[in-house]
């Protein structure tokens, strides 16, 4: 067995430590004082009843400053009569990389322009990756994403299984011709 | 049977058991451990006698036995490791290099 002594590789940008830093102990104390300072500060806030953390207390608290173009929620658009615009073509379900859309088609002979409709339209939000492909794929503009955040956390995974009615009821888009609903806090609705 | 006799007898029996292990077992490590057992029996007897005589000398002896045991193991175990690496066996029967 040949023993090759371990030689530590020296990188060109390796910072040189002076002996004070090499001594290690004081640098450790410095590091501890930094983390300890953060701890005491947050702890004090926490004790005095304020929020001792930067993170949002999701889902009870939702960040107000999501990006403007964030699209976190699907909706199904409706025809003027309130029925979904979806024709159950399954394109969205096909294109979905996460395979989280399930559609069961139904036949409605009364409705001659659109005899096929979605009897069941369900999205598994525990698997959705919010890629927006479904919106791209839809030929009927039946599915859209709106700038909201879904109340995702749930006690069990079935609560994250959103069905058609819910998708319609969230904030149903009644008029196809109209653009997206007004942005929050952006003046009067058009 | 008083306590003293019990413990001395226990020490003697442990010594005998250790010796028997040394004689009987094949595995070198086990034999080493049997030697430790013998030392333990001796220590027990020593402690009993020391307690009776209330003398520090015996206590010192006990302590020395401890040290000797530690030193012995510190050397014996590496030797066994070397032997095992050399012969690929722990069987004492294989170590007959010192045959006269």
């Amino acid at each position: 067995m040949s023993r090759k002594p371990f030689v530590r590789r020296v990188y060109w940008n390796e910072p040189a430590m002076n002996w004070w830093e090499r001594f290690y102990l004081f640098e450790i104390l410095r590091g501890l004082s930094i983390t300890g300072g953060v701890f005491t500060r947050n702890m004090w806030r926490w004790i005095t009843g304020r929020k001792g953390a930067l993170t949002a207390y999701y889902p009870e608290e939702i960040r107000p400053d999501y990006a403007r173009h964030n699209r976190g929620k699907h909706i199904l658009t409706q025809r003027p009569d309130g029925r979904p615009q979806c024709i159950a073509c399954n394109m969205c379900a096909t294109v979905c990389p996460a395979r989280c859309i399930e559609i069961e088609a139904g036949l409605d002979p009364d409705d001659t322009p659109h005899p096929k409709y979605a009897k069941r339209f369900e999205i598994d939000y525990s698997r959705c990756i919010f890629c927006g492909f479904c919106v791209e794929a839809c030929p009927e503009d039946a599915i859209r994403m709106v700038p909201e955040t879904p109340g995702l956390p749930a006690q069990d995974r079935w609560h994250m299984w959103i069905d058609r009615d819910a998708l319609l009821n969230w904030n149903p888009q009644r008029d196809v011709a109209k653009p997206y609903p007004p942005k929050p806090g952006k003046g009067v609705p058009t | 049977m008083d306590n003293g006799q019990l413990l001395v007898a226990l020490g003697a029996v442990l010594f005998a058991l250790g010796f028997a292990g040394l004689v009987l077992r094949r595995n070198v490590l086990v034999m080493l451990m049997c030697m430790e057992l013998m030392l333990n029996g001796v220590t027990l007897c020593l402690v009993v006698f020391a307690q009776q005589a209330a003398s520090t000398a015996a206590t010192v002896l006990v302590f020395l036995v401890f040290v000797v045991a530690a030193a012995e193991i510190a050397i014996a175990v590496p030797i066994v490791l070397l032997l095992a690496r050399h012969k690929h066996t722990l069987d004492l029967g294989a170590y007959t290099d010192l045959k006269g």
Binding site: W19 | V23, L92, Y95, T96, L98, G100
Partner: protein, 625 residues
């Protein structure tokens, strides 16, 4: 503060530990601060201790701990400060600190800077425990310790085998002396029952003398002193010891360590007062050493070797003083010698530094203008050692001469005569050195000459301080300061009218040396060369250092070699021991052949045999216990 003496001793030790353990990591500034600061603190503590001593008048004793308890006698590690050890302590710490500072300049570019200062501090520690130790045992530890430090420092550049060899030589030569020292110590212990030197002195000065020949003790201890202080016949190591860095030569092999022998004899003056034979031996050895070393120095060409032989010679002077009972005077000369010899060595170091490592005086010359500070200080120190008034050497040497002449405890005119001759030689070779180095035409090659530069202030400053001390140091009358404990011997009343003429003679001697050197070397070099040609035999004898090394080789080395080869190796080892062993082995082999059947190599069987043995033992114990 009660533990002042311990503090004095321990501070350099702390320096050694700090520099030795952490020095390489913490950089030169740290090393310099620790290496120079702690000895300086030690010096401050020594001054404080000295003030306390003068204030109380009582010797300070500082018991550190009990070392060993053997039978009824306890050996303590304790320190003892009276006027004698106070003088020594001040010299050691003071000169030591100065040389430390000097070293920061001299060793600036050495790779082993921290190691150097660690060793130097270690040396100070041992030297201080030598000087301050109350018991001979502590003194011996210091004695051996300074030997160790000296060994380490002589061989400091141990990559050079010659230098390592020199270190070894010093160490081994010292061992010879140490044997005598140890024997003397044993003798003292059996006779007096203690090794504490003040008690030993008291015992010998007391009403009933210990049942031991004081002379024998004295001679044995003196053998130790000859080893450490480089006296005939153990002087051979000191010239070689110049292999070490020059500040080391200045500190160890000129100012402090080699005077340990003087200190030992002076410290045990009680013994020597009752040992006229021993004193006589001391005086004769001293003057012989002084004379012969001086003659050798006349022809040496290495600047440091000249100084080394001069050191041996001066130590001989000190022993002469000790031998005629003038202990205080010996210490006085020790004290002045520490200043001017340190100055000379450091000056030599400065010269060597200026010349980029050149040590041969034949390739120097004309340096006076180029390195003026070094020159002036060197000249002052040279004048001091030559005994020109009013410099320090004049006073001490003059007193030695006077007591050699007139002391009732062994003074004799022939001692004086020889000492004066030596003094003449001293003056001569020192001025020769001065002339060859600083005057005349430059003889170095052009490249070296181009680079000559004055040393940094950390070196020249020290030189100036030491030159100043060698100028004024003589006005401190150490003999009178030490009179209470080291009384001067009575002098012959009839000779008192010689005192003033002798001084005049001494001054004249110094001037004569100066004149002779100026005459011989002042002009062209031809005069000296002609003189050398006329006395070729003598010159060769002197350059060969009387062939003492060769003599030892022939008288001791070869016979030992022969004895160990022929008798011990061939006869004793191979024939007797090996023969016996082989015979026994043959017998054993025969027996083993018979027993080999049991040796199966099977450990279990062996354990069985052991079991049978235990049974046999038990059986026996049933019958007998």
């Amino acid at each position: 503060m009660s533990n002042l003496l311990t503090l004095i001793v321990v501070l350099p030790l702390a320096g050694f530990l700090l520099n030795g353990l952490a020095g390489n990591r913490l950089g030169k500034a740290f090393v310099s601060a620790v290496g120079c600061g702690l000895p300086a603190l030690s010096f401050a503590a020594a001054v404080a201790a000295f003030r306390t001593l003068e204030a109380t008048g009582e010797p300070i004793v500082d018991v550190v701990f009990r070392w060993a308890l053997i039978g009824d006698s306890a050996f303590e590690v304790s320190f003892y400060l009276d006027r004698l050890s106070a003088v020594m302590t001040l010299i050691v710490t003071g000169v030591g600190s100065l040389i430390h500072v000097y070293s920061t300049g001299y060793m600036k570019d050495d790779a082993s800077y921290a190691r150097y200062f660690a060793y130097l501090n270690l040396f100070l520690f041992f030297m201080l425990s030598l000087v301050l130790g109350r018991s001979l045992l502590v003194l011996f530890v210091g004695w051996e310790g300074v030997g160790l430090a000296s060994y380490l420092l002589i061989g400091f550049w141990f990559e050079d085998p010659a230098k390592a060899q020199a270190g070894k030589k010093a160490f081994i030569t010292n061992r010879v002396g140490d044997a005598g020292f140890l024997l003397g110590m044993f003798l003292i212990y059996t006779a007096v029952g203690t090794l504490e030197m003040d008690r030993v002195n008291a015992a010998f000065m007391g009403p009933e003398l210990p049942a031991v020949s004081a002379s024998l003790v004295g001679i044995l201890l003196f053998i130790g002193a000859t080893g450490k202080s480089a006296q005939i016949p153990l002087h051979v190591w000191l010239p070689d010891a110049m292999a070490g860095p020059t500040p080391v030569s200045a500190l160890i092999h000129a100012a402090t360590m080699v005077t340990a022998g003087i200190y030992l004899v002076a410290r045990l003056s009680g013994v020597y007062l009752h040992a006229p034979e021993a004193s006589e031996v001391v005086a004769v050895i001293g003057i012989l050493t002084a004379f012969f070393a001086a003659t050798i120095a006349v022809v040496q060409t290495d600047i440091k070797k000249v100084l080394a032989y001069s050191t041996i010679s001066q130590l001989g002077f000190m022993f002469l003083a000790l031998g005629v009972g003038a202990y205080g005077v010996a210490v006085f000369h020790l004290y002045t010698h520490a200043f001017f010899k340190a100055c000379l060595f450091l000056g030599a170091g400065s010269v060597i530094h200026a010349l980029g490592g050149e040590q041969d005086i034949r390739r120097m010359g004309g340096l006076a203008k180029r390195i003026p500070v070094t020159f002036i200080t060197f000249a002052v120190a040279t004048a001091a050692i030559a005994g020109l008034p009013p410099l320090a050497g004049f006073f001490s040497k003059d007193e030695i001469l006077w007591f050699a002449f007139a002391s009732e405890a062994g003074g004799a005119p022939w001692l004086w005569a020889l000492a004066s001759l030596t003094a003449l030689l001293t003056a001569f070779y020192m001025f020769r050195l001065l002339w060859l180095t600083f005057f005349g035409q430059p003889r170095m090659d052009a490249e070296t000459a181009h680079h000559i530069h004055e040393s940094p202030w950390s070196m020249t400053g020290i030189l100036v301080v030491l030159a100043f001390l060698s100028t004024v140091g003589g006005f401190v009358s150490i003999p009178h300061f030490l009179e209470p404990m080291l009384p001067l011997p009575a002098t012959d009343e009839h000779l008192h009218h010689f005192e003033v003429p002798l001084i005049v003679v001494a001054v004249l001697i110094g001037l004569a040396g100066l004149a002779a050197a100026a005459w011989l070397y002042g002009g062209d070099a031809s005069r000296a060369a002609r003189l050398g040609a006329r006395f070729t035999g003598l010159h060769r004898l002197l350059s060969g250092k009387y062939y003492v090394d060769e003599l030892y080789e022939a008288v001791l080395g070869r016979p030992l070699w022969w004895i160990s080869d022929r008798i011990f190796l061939r006869l004793g080892d191979r024939a007797l021991i090996d023969g016996t062993l082989h015979g026994l082995a043959g017998v054993a082999r025969l027996g083993a052949a018979a027993l080999a059947r049991i040796q199966t190599g099977n450990l279990h069987l062996y354990v069985w045999l052991a079991l049978i043995g235990i049974f046999a033992l038990l059986w026996w114990s049933f019958g007998h216990v």
